[in-house]
Amino acid sequence: MQETYKLVHLSKTDLLGEIYNRYGKKLYSYAVKTWSVTEDEAWNLIYKTLYKVIDTHGNYAFASEEKFASFVFRVFINYLRNHYRDEKTKANDYQTVRVEMSTLHEGAAVMTETAVNPKLMVLNEELDKMEDWQRMLLLMRSEGMAYSEIAQYVDKPENQLKVYYQRLKEHLTKKLHERI
């Protein structure tokens, strides 16, 4: 029987404090430094995240603390996505007042389309074409993992991974050059 876990029985305030201390500070720095979110907005995101976690954690059981951390992070990411979506919508709304009403939706669609990073579009397309181990290799190596570690998760010889990785990067580069 695999054990699963629920969050501790503490007062709501204590839980908020604990989760903030454990994850909130890192999420704050992550939001500000990695995503250039304003400080105020970063606090808002953490605020929403904490309360969402507190209010919903009871619906789930967690296989480990790692999974609980992942749960917290996903809640945060969803709010971060919402934030960016809202920001994008605001930008589009601001732009649409300059166009005719008849072309409003079309214009908004075009702007939405152009707002997407073309490199990301190419990456998505190429990732879709790749095998799972190739995607994993790209992801893990770009995050700095050693080939010896990666070899544990992809069924390829370690001494070949470097070659595969370089080829994949060159392939991606070629596609990016072709498309952009």
Binding site: S11, E65, K67, G144
Partner: protein, 627 residues
């Protein structure tokens, strides 16, 4: 050729993946794995930047978590002394406060929180709207199993309930945090974060307060002729397993005790004018096995430069410590067991000869730890971090100061925003990040050495480890490396001497020098000369603009030199009878002058099918010479 010169870098790829995290609403399995890995990176490493204390206080107050009422106020004064950066933060706090609505109308975030708290229907809506990503309730995916935790494991947040309190259902074991319930009158800001590391203390919740004295304690006027007054405390405590100290001013010193009791000796010296209006207090409270001691300034906040306070503790082995000094140094020595979490807002944190888990933070001061057996977390916002003889994993952050380390046995994650990182004589995985500062490493033996630097030189000497370097701008010098080297550099010269292992260089702009390499190499250079001397192994050299020069190169089976604009001049140690050539230039001379083989051609190719070692070279515009 251009494909080689601008291959997407790891960093660019990583940024794209991160962007994918936000862009993907569908969350396929791959994005799930991306998010899992990102979570590990975010939570496993120390926070990349410090949280502004003032804003944090506001935030904690908003969510109802107790915080120190005094700390932020004092910080307002302290920031003045810490330079423009701090002043900016303080200003931000003031602006933030001013932006708070005067009327009951809440900020949007408050409204959201109120909705979450009070409106169940809306709660459900928000839940459905926000919990889009799959929640990890089942078996972990392959990718999320282990790898990053080996580098910087998360502390355990949950543990199984004590036997008497455990509730076991069919498939659920309920867990309890190590966080204990604290007195509601407490004002310690970060007790939760620290206390969670302590072992469970079941007596604490059951035992009523056994001691509580407020001072002035043993007030003594030492000398009628002087203006000084002294408050003393000399107290012994039994059965204490954890101590939490908060001092508004003065130093905190921890020494080992010869008995199982905790001995506290405290002393405050104040000016007579201050004494007339009682402003100072030492108080302590023992609840079960937990002892709290507070030194605080009461009433009107005044300059404490003329006052001093010293708290000397003698603690038995295994005592857990939370030490907070707003304005003073923290020193601890010869600790055995337990955890020690020390934080000084304005002062140094120093510890030595301890067998404990140490967390040391100096917001404006030096962190200096030596001879520590146990994991260490060291942070300084404005000051150096100096660690030596550490046996255990290290996580360190120097926001604006240097990191200096020596004699490490354990994995290290070190980052610096504005300062140099220096590490001598280390054994263990090394991960360093410097935003703006030089990195020096010597005498390292590690399963991995990973370095990221935005601006600054990187120097590695006597390193036995596979090294992975990403440098945006700075010179790189590597001497006596045993292990593979994977290096990406945007701007700066690269020098590699005396290396054994596979060499993989990707340099955008800068000269490359490789001397005495035993191993294969692959070099990509966009702009700069490549100079190679005394190497053994196979070589692939790709240069966009620059000359390639090779001397005493002993090729195992093949060498390939591709230059767009520049000359190639290679001297091979191999016997000419063992060499086969395929040399081609669009504009320039091709020349072979090797033993009896003397061939030359202009604007064309020379092909010699011979031998087991294949030599291939090409140029768009430049001469090619092999001898």
């Amino acid at each position: 050729m251009s494909e080689f010169n601008s291959t997407i870098t790891d960093r660019e790829l990583r940024e794209l993946f991160r962007e994918k995290i936000l862009a993907d609403d569908g969350d396929d399995a791959f994005t799930d794995k991306l998010i899992d890995m990102e979570a590990k990176f975010v939570f496993a490493a120390p926070a990349m930047i410090p949280v502004p204390t003032g804003m944090e206080k506001e935030f904690l107050a908003k969510i109802g978590v107790k915080s120190s009422a005094k700390l932020a106020g004092k910080l307002g004064m302290k920031w003045i002394f810490t330079g423009l950066s701090c002043a900016t933060i303080t200003t931000a706090v003031v602006v933030y406060k001013n932006n708070q609505p005067k009327d009951p109308a809440p900020r949007p975030v408050v409204a959201a929180a109120a909705a979450v708290q009070n409106d169940n229907q809306l709660q459900d809506t928000i839940l459905a709207d926000t919990i889009q990503a799959p929640i990890p309730t089942d078996t972990p995916t392959d990718v999320t199993k282990q790898p990053l935790e080996q580098l910087s494991p998360l502390p355990e947040i949950l543990s199984i309930l004590p036997e008497a309190n455990r509730t076991i259902t069919e498939e659920t074991v309920e867990l309890v945090s190590l966080v204990k319930t604290f007195s509601t009158s407490s004002t310690f800001t970060s007790r939760l974060s620290i206390w969670r590391q302590f072992p469970a203390v079941p007596e604490a919740a059951e035992t009523p307060n056994t001691y509580c004295r407020n001072v002035p304690l043993d007030y003594t006027e030492e000398d009628g002729e002087t203006d000084d007054s002294v408050y003393n405390i000399d107290q012994t405590f039994s059965g204490v397993k954890s101590i939490e100290v908060h001092s508004d001013f003065g130093s905190i010193n921890i020494q080992p005790s010869r008995s199982n009791d905790v001995q506290l000796t405290g002393r405050i010296e104040v000016m007579r004018k201050a004494r007339k209006d009682p402003q100072f207090e030492i108080s302590y409270e023992q609840t079960g096995t937990r002892l709290e001691v507070v030194v605080q300034q009461k009433g009107k906040q005044t300059d404490l430069s003329d006052e001093s306070s010293v708290l000397d503790f003698e603690v038995p082995p295994g005592t857990n410590l939370i030490l907070r000094a707003d304005n003073g140094n923290i020193n601890f020595n010869d600790l055995e067991g337990g955890n020690c979490d020390a934080e000084s807002s304005f002062g140094d944190v120093r510890g030595s000869n301890c067998r404990s888990t140490i967390s040391a933070t100096a917001l404006s001061g030096t962190v200096d730890l030596s001879k520590i057996t146990g994991n260490v977390n060291a942070t300084s916002s404005f000051g150096d971090v100096i660690l030596s003889e550490i046996t255990g994993n290290i996580a360190a952050h120097a926001a604006s100061g240097n990191f200096i380390g020596n004699l490490f046995t354990g994995n290290c994650v070190i980052d610096s925003d504005f300062g140099d990182i220096t590490v001598h004589n280390s054994v263990g995985t090394m991960r360093l990040t410097a935003e703006s500062g030089n990195i020096y490493i010597d005498s390292l033996k590690a399963p991995e050495c990973r370095i990221e630097s935005s601006f600054g030189d990187v120097t590695l000497t006597s390193v036995t480890a596979p090294a992975n370097l990403t440098v945006q701008s700075g010179d790189i010098k590597i001497t006596a490396l045993t292990g593979d080297l994977n290096l990406e550099s945007a701007f700066g010269n690269v020098t590699v001497n005396n290396m054994t292992g596979e060499l993989d260089l990707d340099v955008n702009s800068g000269n490359i020098s490789v001397t005495r390499l035993n191993g294969n190499m692959e070099i990509v250079s966009s702009f700069g000369n490549v100079v190679i001397n005394e190497t053994r192994g196979n070589s692939i050299i790709t240069a966009n603009s620059g000359n390639v020069s090779g001397r005493n190169m002993d090729i195992t089976s093949n060498i390939e030199v591709n230059v767009a604009f520049g000359n190639s001049n290679i001297q091979l140690k191999n016997n000419y009878n063992d060499l086969g050539f395929n040399l081609d230039t669009a504009y320039g001379k091709v020349k072979i002058n090797k033993g009896d083989m003397k061939l030359e051609k202009e604007n064309g190719a020379i092909v010699v099918e011979k031998g087991g070692v294949q030599v291939k070279a090409s140029a768009s515009s430049g001469n090619i010479t092999f001898d």
